[in-house]
């Protein structure tokens, strides 16, 4: 189970995942001085989007906490990530002229999310994820953030789902409300869990997986060939 974490997101998507209004996210961005670090203009028709890497999400989580943990270190980690070559490569890929065919015709945020989740951008996102992890390790923050691939196994009740986490497929109960935010409230959907330790405890965010090839959801021809009708 190897899925590339989100690594980047639009501001609106960030607000959804943090379960905050866009204004509150704006305020947090200003407070965290992420504004100048993570802005990408995509033209008047599509507006301006701030892209927040996963370390930025953790930083916003820290800003929300009553007693933030190591905010200055989180700031420096974010700075390193946005200065990385993979971040710049992502920005280039997000220029409209470079969008893959699947994303053209989509508008605004939906278009950007289509690009972020496209297989074409998977290598860049993978590099960016590596840059994120390296920055966290460099500043000793890796114990405050955990990122794992996740698959929704089953919808256990109206409120909870069982998700399988990481390469060992560890099963956990997750509130379905978190899955709805990420558009993953269905069986066998792929996603990414981001757990952040703040002064008030551990917070979980759920993101759609990036770069999942379309054929993953198609029949395996070998298994399909083995079918047998057992009735008459």
């Amino acid at each position: 189970m190897h899925i590339i974490p989100p690594a980047a997101a639009t501001m609106d998507a960030t607000a959804r995942h943090l379960q905050l209004g866009p204004r509150r996210v704006q305020a947090l961005l200003s407070a965290s001085r992420l504004n100048e670090l993570a802005m990408l203009a995509l033209g008047h028709s599509r507006g301006t989007y701030r892209l927040i890497p996963e370390v930025g999400i953790a930083l916003l989580r820290q800003f929300q906490a009553p007693s933030p943990l190591h905010v200055d270190l989180w700031q420096r980690a974010v700075h390193d990530v946005t200065a990385s070559s993979s971040w710049h490569a992502l920005g280039t890929a997000l220029k409209e002229s470079n969008w893959p065919a699947a994303a053209r015709g989509a508008t605004g945020q939906a278009g950007i999310e289509t690009v972020l989740h496209s297989p074409a951008l998977r290598p860049t996102m993978e590099e960016l994820h590596d840059a994120n992890i390296a920055a966290l390790q460099q500043y000793g923050l890796d114990g405050y953030l955990q990122v794992e691939a996740m698959q929704v196994d089953r919808l256990e009740s109206e409120e909870e789902a069982v998700v399988l986490v990481g390469p060992r497929l560890r099963p956990y109960l997750l509130p379905r409300a978190l899955l709805r935010i990420a558009g993953l409230d269905r069986e066998k959907a792929w996603g990414v869990l981001v757990a952040t330790r703040t002064a008030t405890g551990v917070t979980i965010d759920v993101w759609p997986a990036v770069g999942m090839p379309q054929e993953e959801a198609l029949h395996d021809p070998d298994l399909w060939e083995q079918r047998v009708e057992v009735g008459r």
Partner: protein, 327 residues
């Protein structure tokens, strides 16, 4: 000679073993690693073959130890039956695919489009009716619409040895049961059983067996109904217990309030020794029901089914538990 069914006490998960009259084994679902130890106890010399192994559907509480089972016992398995065709890059399902493909035509994706059901003879006096999903259900991803759920892709088994009948309901829900009842009727088969593994851990309709079908699947008030339950997860449903009472005798393999162990199966000390970093996800989330193992399970249920229809069993639960469920 008897047909013996072991329903393992693994909480809200399914793991069952059949001992066929010939001495061969069969496995229905792989919901907990306890299954592997249990097989070792049944067959300490590792000589017995598995006539068939069924993965009823791809929910983790039914395939948790499938990969380990294949690693240890695959060479002795004659047939695999399953109901999925997308592995979703799941390493356990991909391992299962390898084992299936190595079986050639003895690894079968069960499809049941026909309006009626047909028994398959396993050995002398033993046959099994397999109720499977339709092609349409097997083709469409679970969750794509309300009409397709992984539970309703379950393979349901009706096993007969002489006059003894077992009905293993997997996690089939109401919609599937209505079709199963029609297919059985059309095929001239009765669903009335001496031992019923309650569908979907004892959930009520629409997520389990419709109340009106309990009198159909319980042959007599002496029938045994087994609930593989997790009290903390709200199963068995109180309505199910009420429906079953009077129809059959209830046995549970589940547990009441119990200790919680890490979903990884490692104690905190062992994990620290393994060098894993702090696990924030484990700290923040509760383990799924199948990951919570208790030494205080109510006990595995064993049923000895004779050819003349006599069924003897070892009860694993005392009535006060059921009364507690009804409060």
């Amino acid at each position: 000679m008897t047909l013996r069914l072991h329903v393992l006490a693994v909480g809200q998960a399914d793991a069952m073993i059949l001992e066929l009259p010939s001495g061969r084994l069969a496995v229905v679902d792989f919901g907990h690693p306890m299954l592997l130890d249990y097989i070792d106890q049944l067959d300490p010399r590792g000589e017995r073959r598995f006539a068939f192994c069924v993965l009823t559907h791809v929910h983790h509480d039914h395939y948790q130890c499938l990969g380990d089972f294949i690693s240890r016992f695959d060479r002795r398995v004659d047939e695999y039956w399953y109901s999925f065709s997308v592995t979703h890059r799941n390493p356990i399902l991909q391992r299962f695919k390898q084992a299936v493909m190595a079986r050639g035509r003895r690894g079968r994706l069960i499809i049941h489009d026909a309006p009626s059901a047909v028994p398959l003879s396993l050995e002398t006096d033993v046959d099994v009716v397999r109720f499977g999903p339709t092609t349409w259900e097997a083709e469409h991803p679970a969750g794509e619409s309300d009409n397709v759920t992984e539970n309703n892709r379950s393979i349901v088994l009706l096993i007969r040895y002489g006059r003894s009948v077992l009905l293993l309901g997997a996690d089939a829900e109401e919609a599937r049961w209505r079709r199963i009842a029609a297919q059985a009727h059309s095929g001239g088969l009765s669903l009335a059983a001496d031992v019923v593994k309650a569908p979907h851990h004892g959930a009520r309709a629409p997520h389990g067996l419709p109340e009106a079908l309990w009198p159909v699947v319980c042959r007599s008030p002496r029938s045994h109904v087994v609930l593989t339950v997790d009290r903390l997860a709200g199963k068995p449903d109180q309505q199910t217990i009420r429906a079953v009472r009077g129809m059959g005798r209830i046995g549970c393999t589940g547990r009441a309030l119990t200790c919680r162990l890490p979903a990884t199966g490692l104690s905190g000390q062992a994990r620290a020794a393994s060098g894993d970093p702090a696990d924030l996800i484990e700290e923040a989330l509760r383990p799924a029901p199948e990951a919570m193992v208790s030494p205080a399970c109510f006990g595995t249920q064993v049923f000895d089914c004779a050819r003349d229809g006599t069924v003897t069993y070892r009860p694993g639960i005392s009535p006060p538990f059921l009364d507690a469920c009804l409060t």
